[in-house]
């Protein structure tokens, strides 16, 4: 047995142990509040490792907790009418035939859910009065939550989810337009030195520093645009930053993104798997992401990323 196989079985056992009776997972090991994000990562990692009854129960949880408007809430019991995790849920349910109607309403919600700068009034405000943050208000993507502006991570996940729509027909005619605006938004809001921060690259005239996980997630959504200078700069930043990354979440995402661009990630993977106390990580999404990354190619398939 290789050390990876042993780690894999330990991770599966730990994640399985954390599954709640309702089929979902909580964000932290110490919590009993089932949430959509950790459930999606856990289900994706299990689907990649070996489909089990745990995955089926997770799918049932997701289907049970979809909002009437087609979106997904952050956690069970949340009273908000949708959130960015909808994109993640749509990606998680992609191979489940029984989820097709749920996914169709989910995609419909995602198509109609946009950052506030998509509206003419806010475009005008950002263009004339509110110019502390540098960005082009003509481009827009997806917000974390309704009625706020677009941010990098929710936009990247929405783009990854929308890539899975088989055609731009049957109510999805607007999909190419939204995808195009979203890609433009990501390219516009990159940090001047390469990579992505949470939202914008320049605030009060000062370039902000990129974040490795935000950069990696943006790069995963832009694999079809690898010739863009911004994408190449982001890739260079991530290659450089990944060498020193000491946190499993960011390192795992860096591995996924670099692998998606054809980079050799073996040494990074070795470092990830030899990190101490991996099983003691409280954050279940991180734990599941580490399991997912043990098989990078499969992980990219699960996320719908074309390498």
């Amino acid at each position: 047995m290789t050390s990876n196989t042993i780690l894999c079985s330990h991770l599966i056992a730990e994640i399985a142990l954390r599954q709640l009776p309702c089929g979902g997972w909580a964000a932290l090991a110490s919590s009993s509040q089932p949430a959509v994000e950790p459930t999606c990562y856990s289900a994706l990692s299990f689907a990649a490792a070996a489909p089990t009854s745990h995955t089926e129960r997770a799918f049932e949880f997701l289907l049970r907790h979809q909002n009437l408007n087609g979106s997904w809430p952050v956690f069970a019991g949340d009273d908000q009418d949708g959130a960015w995790v909808t994109a993640l849920a749509l990606m998680t349910l992609r191979n489940l035939p029984a989820a097709i109607p749920a996914r169709l309403t989910g995609f419909e919600w995602l198509m109609n859910y946009a950052g506030r700068e998509s509206d003419w009034f806010w475009k005008w405000k950002f263009r004339t009065a509110d110019r502390y943050v540098r960005f082009d208000p003509e481009t827009f993507g997806w917000p974390w939550f309704p009625n706020t502006v677009s941010w990098v991570v929710p936009t990247a996940f929405a783009l990854l989810a929308l890539k899975q729509i088989p055609c731009s027909c049957g109510g999805f005619e607007q999909a190419p337009f939204r995808v195009q605006r979203g890609i433009e938004m990501l390219l516009d809001r990159a940090c001047p030195g390469g990579g992505w921060n949470a939202g914008n690259g320049v605030v009060y005239g000062v370039p902000v520093a990129p974040h490795p996980d935000d950069t990696a997630i943006a790069l995963l959504a832009l694999t079809d645009h690898r010739q863009e200078t911004v994408v190449q700069s982001g890739l260079q930043y991530l290659e450089h930053a990944a060498v020193d990354l000491c946190a499993p979440w960011s390192l795992a995402y860096a591995i996924l993104a670099l692998a998606a661009y054809g980079q050799n990630t073996e040494s990074l993977q070795r470092r990830l798997t030899s990190m101490p106390d991996l099983l003691a990580i409280e954050d279940t999404s991180t734990l599941a992401l580490v399991l997912l990354v043990l098989d990078v190619e499969r992980a990219l398939l699960e996320l719908g990323v074309t390498a």
Binding site: A27, S32, A35, A198, P212, C246
Partner: protein
């Protein structure tokens, strides 16, 4: 001139409409006046971050009649993001010294809790800023407030117009909550001190990064609603090395050599603002906070420790907040 019934009817209707429109502007936006009769603030001298902070804090805490025996103490530092050589975060040595002090005072448990506002990878911030190893060595539990279990709480003020917030269980179940801000300027709110530090309890998983919904609802308004709803029991502000200029992330470190302790968040922030060379009454959340949360007036604050000398040179601050500087005449 005689009034007809029609005149009275029209006048009465206009008066009622006018009252219903204008009343909300004159009604207090808080539900309860929680101001203590007197507040206590201590300014302690500390030139640098060292193991001696244990001693400094223990001496400072003796100036306050606090009893944490058998209580669950939660320390809420300001941990936003990490940049090498910068003064973004509350220094881990100060947090460790506080944890040690409260343990010695008989606390049932001491945990450190924060929901970083900018960086989603909490473990990365903890690791790079030196928290992870320090907390592990001292066996202090850390709770990621961005992902903790949430409970919906009705707000006890209505500055934002929101009726409730989902807040972390760890914070709501704490018996003794300590806000431990870094003394910094802030390009959206003027300053970030113990009241603004409470933004960190709002979970990113529910409200976005960087706490996006609250930015839309108004930063000053959100600070007031949060502080009205979640009482802070004690304040330990890190001003050993503070930050001026384009805070909270891209400012410049400024050696102040002070730690500020207080039992009232508004009083603590008023004193910190004065130390920065700012007039606290010109900072909207401190000004409005002084109506129902705590004291700003020096006449209601028992000042101990070092004397309150405003910064000889006020902290640098972005252009739109220049009016905060004490040297400017009051309008």
């Amino acid at each position: 001139m005689s009034l007809t019934r029609r005149d009275l009817l029209v006048g009465g209707t206009a008066l009622a409409a006018g009252t219903s429109v204008s009343a909300p502007f004159f009604m207090p936006k808080y539900h309860v006046d929680r101001r203590p009769k007197r507040s206590r603030v201590a300014i302690l001298h500390a030139e640098q971050y060292s193991q001696k902070l244990d001693e400094v804090l223990a001496t400072g805490l003796r100036l306050f009649p606090i009893d944490v025996r058998g209580k669950r103490v939660v320390l809420k530092p300001n941990l936003v993001d990490y940049a090498p050589g910068d003064a973004i975060n509350t220094h881990p040595l100060l947090v460790l010294a506080a944890a040690e002090s409260f343990r010695r005072l008989g606390a049932k448990s001491v945990a450190v809790a924060e929901g970083p506002g900018h960086q989603r990878d909490t473990q990365l911030v903890l690791s790079l800023s030196g928290y992870q190893q320090s907390l592990r060595d001292e066996r202090i539990r850390f709770v990621d407030l961005n992902r903790d279990q949430l409970i919906r709480i009705p707000l006890r003020a209505s500055y934002t117009g929101m009726e409730s917030l989902w807040l972390p269980r760890t914070i709501l179940e704490a018996d003794f909550l300590v806000s431990m801000p870094k003394i910094k300027t802030h390009h959206w709110s003027g300053v970030t001190l113990s009241m603004k530090n409470m933004f960190g309890i709002v979970p990113g998983a529910r409200y976005g990064w960087p706490k996006n919904l609250l930015h839309w609802k108004g930063i000053q308004e959100s600070i007031l609603d949060i502080c009205a709803t979640v009482p802070v029991h004690f304040i330990i502000a890190d001003g050993i090395v503070a930050m001026e200029g384009n805070g909270p992330l891209n400012g410049t470190p400024r050696s102040l050599g002070k730690i500020v302790l207080a039992n009232d968040a508004v009083a603590a922030d008023a004193v910190c603002a004065r130390l920065m060379g700012f007039e606290p009454g010109r900072i909207p959340h401190i000004h409005d906070g002084s109506r129902f949360l705590g004291n700003v007036s020096l006449g209601h604050i028992d000042q101990c420790g070092e004397p309150l000398d405003g910064a000889a040179i006020p902290f640098q601050i972005s252009l739109q907040f220049q009016h905060l500087c004490s040297a400017l005449p009051t309008e």
